[in-house]
Amino acid sequence: MQASIQIDHAPAVQYLLRIGDTCLVHGQRIAQWCGHAPILEEDIALSNMALDLIGQARAVLTRAGELEGRGHDEDQLAFLREERDYRNITLVELPRGDFAFTVLRNVMVATLMKQLWQRLCDSSDAELAAIAGKAVKEARYHQQHAADWVVRLGDGTDESRRRIEAALAELWRFVPEMLESDAVDEAAHASGLGPRWADLKDAWQAEMSTVLQAAKLDAPPEAAFRSTGKQGVHTEHMGFMLAEMQHLQRSFPGGVW
C-alpha cells in the first residue's frame, strides 16, 4: 500500500487546497449520482458537472503542488493525503442525500464558487487567474442548473416541497464556514492571491435569497454551529469517501490511465 504524502502548511498552499479540495470532493459526491439520478437527463447533467469540477480540481491541485515546491503532482495531492490534510468545506463531503439535497447543495456551492472564481480572475498568480477565467463560466452553468431545480422543487408538489425544506434545514448550518475568513484568507488577500471568503458573503446571500424567494423558501436563521472542513477537521463521512476515492491509487501505486 502506498504511503501518505506530507504537505506543506504555507498559507498560499492552504488557500489553494481549500479551492481544489472543495472542487474535488464536490465532484466526487456528484459523480456518485452517475447511474442513479431520477431521470436520464439529470444523470447526464450531474456527471457533466462532476467532470467540470474534477477538471477544475486537477488544475488547482497542480498549481498548489507547484507553489508547495515539494514535487507533488495532482494525483499525489488528490489520492495520497491523510484525511486531516484535506481542506474542503464540510458542506461538500456530506453524503449525497436525495435529489433535493443534491440540487440545494449544488446551488449553494456553485454560487460560492462563481463569486470566488470571478474574484480569482484578478489573482496575482497568473496561472490561478487563467484557471478561474475558464471555471467561472462553468460555475455559472452549474448555478443556473441547480437554481432552476430548487425553484421547481420548492414551488412544486407537496412532496418536492417537503424534501427541499428538509434539505434546507439540514444544509444551512454549513453556510457560515463558507463565508468566514481566517489567517489563510488574510495572507491571500494581502498577497493578491485571492479574496477573503468573507468578502463574498454579501453577493452570496443576495443571489441565494433570489433563488430561495423564487422557490418560496425561507432561509433558516444562522446557527451557532461552525463546521471545520477548511481547517482539516472533517465529519465522519469524509474517511469513508476517501477510502473509496483513494483505493485504486493506494493499492496500485502510480497507476495511470
Partner: protein, 173 residues
C-alpha cells in the same frame, strides 16, 4: 529574409494544414481549427510547438486531442513537435469559425449563438421554452430545452416541437 526563416514559416504553414485535418474526437464534424482551440503554431529551433486552449476544465477529449495532434504532425513528417496548453484567455464558443458553425448545423447540432459577455450575469430562472434555438433539421424555432447538459460537456439537449426530433445544441459559453 534568411533561408532558415523561410523554411520555418513553411513548416508552420504545413502544420496548420495538418491541423485542419485533425478532428475533435467528440464532435468529429469539426477540426480542432474549426473549434478554435489552436491558438498558435510556433517553429522553435528544436521543433514545433502547438499551443492549444482547452474547451472545458474537465473535458476528457483534451488529452485525446493532444495525442491526435502530435500523431498527425508526426505522420506528416514535420519533425519533433510538442503541445502546450494556454488557459488564458479562456476558450469561448465565439472562437468556433463560421465554417465550423455551418459544419455543426450540417452534422445535426444547433450551433451556438454569441456567448454572454463576461461580468455579472444575474440568475435567470428559466423554463423550458426560454432560448430560441432553431432546429437543425427543419429550422423551426418552436423548440424546447430538455436539459442544459448533453452527451458531452459542450452540448445541451433540445427537442423540436414541429418535426418532433430531438437534437443537440452547442452551448454558448
Amino acid at each position: 529574409m534568411s533561408l532558415p526563416a523561410v523554411a520555418a514559416r513553411t513548416r508552420t504553414d504545413l502544420a496548420w494544414d495538418v491541423l485542419h485535418s485533425v478532428l475533435d474526437p467528440e464532435v468529429p464534424a469539426l477540426s480542432v481549427c474549426d473549434l478554435g482551440i489552436v491558438r498558435e503554431v510556433i517553429a522553435h529551433d528544436d521543433g514545433l510547438e502547438i499551443v492549444l486552449t482547452p474547451t472545458y476544465s474537465g473535458c476528457p477529449a483534451t488529452e485525446v486531442i493532444e495525442h491526435d495532434v502530435l500523431a498527425a504532425i508526426a505522420k506528416a513528417q514535420l519533425g519533433p513537435a510538442r503541445v502546450s496548453l494556454r488557459r488564458a484567455p479562456a476558450w469561448t464558443t465565439d472562437w468556433i469559425s463560421a465554417e465550423g458553425k455551418r459544419k455543426l448545423l450540417d452534422y445535426g447540432i444547433a450551433p451556438p449563438g454569441p456567448a454572454a459577455p463576461d461580468g455579472a450575469v444575474p440568475i435567470r430562472i428559466f423554463g423550458r421554452k426560454a432560448d430560441a434555438v432553431a432546429c437543425p433539421r427543419c429550422a423551426s424555432l418552436h423548440t424546447e430545452r430538455l436539459s442544459a447538459f448533453g452527451s458531452t460537456a459542450c452540448k445541451s439537449m433540445y427537442r423540436c416541437l414541429s418535426c418532433r426530433e430531438p437534437f443537440e445544441h452547442f452551448k454558448p459559453i
